[in-house]
Symmetry: C3
Subunit: 340 residues, 3 copies
Amino acid sequence: TNPPYRQLVSYAKLKNDIRCHSLNIEMPSSAKFQLNDVIEAQQFDRDLLNAIFEVACEMEKIEKNSTGSMMLKGYLMATLFYEPSTRTRLSFESAMKRLGGEVLTTENAREFSSAAKGETLEDTIRTVEGYADIIVLRHFESGAAKRAALTANIPVINAGDGPGQHPTQALLDVYTIEREIGRLDGITLGLVGDLANGRTVRSLAYLIAKYQNVKIYFVAPEVVKMKDDIKEYLTSRGVEWEESADLMEVASKCDVVYQTRIQRERFGERVDLYEEARGKYIVDKYVLSVLQKHAIIMHPLPRLDEITVDVDSDPRAAYFRQAKNGLYIRMAILKLLLLG
Amino acid sequence: TNPPYRQLVSYAKLKNDIRCHSLNIEMPSSAKFQLNDVIEAQQFDRDLLNAIFEVACEMEKIEKNSTGSMMLKGYLMATLFYEPSTRTRLSFESAMKRLGGEVLTTENAREFSSAAKGETLEDTIRTVEGYADIIVLRHFESGAAKRAALTANIPVINAGDGPGQHPTQALLDVYTIEREIGRLDGITLGLVGDLANGRTVRSLAYLIAKYQNVKIYFVAPEVVKMKDDIKEYLTSRGVEWEESADLMEVASKCDVVYQTRIQRERFGERVDLYEEARGKYIVDKYVLSVLQKHAIIMHPLPRLDEITVDVDSDPRAAYFRQAKNGLYIRMAILKLLLLG
Amino acid sequence: TNPPYRQLVSYAKLKNDIRCHSLNIEMPSSAKFQLNDVIEAQQFDRDLLNAIFEVACEMEKIEKNSTGSMMLKGYLMATLFYEPSTRTRLSFESAMKRLGGEVLTTENAREFSSAAKGETLEDTIRTVEGYADIIVLRHFESGAAKRAALTANIPVINAGDGPGQHPTQALLDVYTIEREIGRLDGITLGLVGDLANGRTVRSLAYLIAKYQNVKIYFVAPEVVKMKDDIKEYLTSRGVEWEESADLMEVASKCDVVYQTRIQRERFGERVDLYEEARGKYIVDKYVLSVLQKHAIIMHPLPRLDEITVDVDSDPRAAYFRQAKNGLYIRMAILKLLLLG
């Protein structure tokens, strides 16, 4: 029988506390860097990732301190969302408030510069930068965050721009692997589900390629296979990768099984193809039974039934801890952008 | 002629100050209790109600102190609303901020776990509990709050779950009677209007039955009469009740006339039935003329014309003070759940 | 070649710092006044405008101080918006938070008192005033703000009521002229674009008429000419005004060219008339070439192409500084209404 959820949380905390220390050692305090905006996964190298992860680790301690931090007191963050993404928005706003900062929120920024009125993104940014100290932008167009950062005199964080980038999600994914497994070099990773459309798995593959001796398995239904650009990139970086149709075998070899949702909205009228793809690779008790003791299951959430709920109570189910790590990563990013 | 509105407020405040002291005496400080979640009216017994009311009384003093309280500084409340209810949301958020706490808001939580994406409420709760210290949930499904409370490791407050419960409304109604009339035992209560569909009158009848020598009159159009389950419950608890078609006679006997809105949305295409029911029992100057001097008019708001506006200036019109009591009750609940 | 945007901001700041001092001298501290609500431009005379501008100038210094002000700590502002206006809302909320105050937000206040439920504005105000210390109201009906102010026992600020008033926009326009040009008496002003429908130019003409030796040029396409009521008002106040079809000539004479957007939504099906009006008077490099060195271009934003983007980098392009002045004016108004 599995321990109850509350105990699992404590167990995870304990693991994290130990690793926080090891991270401190990895990152010499002399390594200085300048972070102006967070726009795309490509801007991060190993040193920068380590520096962010070190701060994120400190943020865990701050968040658990009930009196709260006043580190960002007097700072104002504008969450400028051109499409709703409540999960991402709440995570950023919680991060800001946990550090004593304040928030201006808009989830209907499309009306701000409505088609009818036709204001450019650049004009909107120039107005909003007068009201806040940092902008978190969610936009429906790829490249919008970069345009905003070029215009703004204050830091801009990309919280997802259409089919483009969602860099803080990529950061929290890598951070979760580091925190849960204890290392990134030499990791074996199984990417499962919708690999064609999933922004998160593509960014994760990109970032993990910065580490040594990484091995990646792709497990995807035929219609949503990983695209050639990422495969070619991995090959060019010396990352070993392999496609497989056997989730059980892959699960038995991996440190991390990263499951994703088949995105129905990408299938249009072809409900038959969607249904076929959706049921193909499910993470359930059988998969857990072959998973190594130290390994973990990750998922960017929301999930449907691609991970069965009876998996949740297993200590290796890391997806809710992964979501929580998004808070620490965003606290770290806000601190680094506003205070250095 | 009636005193102007501002004087009425002062008059009400004076009455309240006197009663705050009497409440302090009723509740011995040795009576300890544990409040983990606020899910349904049924969870409250007399001792718990008294304890909450005592704290609510203290909250009146805090709210009137212009420097504000920092009692909940560092605490973060997530208002997770699956359907908009601006009145309830603002009341909770004001309560949190009056105590120095912070708020994460969402009024479109349906998009958070949209039908398209299909996330369960349980998964959403597990994510949100990572961002906040307490969740205020409004949901369209009966029982949603209980499911959320079973999942969450942080306190959950039910701010209305579909046709189910809205316990803080029930608490503020009982608190208003206590504050305005000075007692709950021996109270005579007239429930008027839409008794079939009104969640508030049903909850109020339920809670008031915990007190001694209560008498209830039901005054409702035929199509929206009080249902048998509540009548049977009252009888089983020894509460005397009676149906009447004579609002004037009932008003002359009651300590509290609790008027409610006929809910048009329940009548569908039968506009004729709605119009007939709607005009049947109106609280106006004539009703006031027979109302006892110490008695009060209550209403859960919003009102249409079931109370005429010329009643507002009478000191016995308690409905805006009742709405304000919602603030104190929610401040008390937040304090008790977060600090004990 | 033009200096980069960042330098322009510093330049503007320097100009402003100098003028802040001159303003301090203009306004003797003995001039006391009482501000209860902000409802319409008509309520402001020269002394009151000067007093507000003096406070706005102090607010610039407070906003630039990174530690922030706690002037309004413990105060709660409710932004009650019956129609979305993200720009105005964020400006007010930023103003409140820059002074240490807190905010309750609603952008869907129509649902608060939805047509289905039919609550009056007065009832809504009486409920909301129980949750906050000041109300910022945006409404779709002319006169709504006045009704709200008559009902409320706390201050009300009109953030736009339908085709009626938007007094804080008018204040920030006049403040911008004062700050940029250094005086209001003797100013020459060119109002350009949609003068028939533009609420801002009408209010500005109204307020500027309070000053001495003002000259106004109207430059508008035939279909959207300035209406007779304002012309007659100006004449009655001794303000010289003239209509012109020659933007270049007007630009060469003015201290301020105030450009506005042709509002497509006012033309209905007549797209041809809209297109004709829209392209007629554009502020571009050619206009800049005749503009005096000390003069400025203003615009209430959002803009389409009635000011070309290559104008933005000219120091005389004042429209983003104008938007920022909205913050200072709103900080001043909040301070004056809540603290006196």
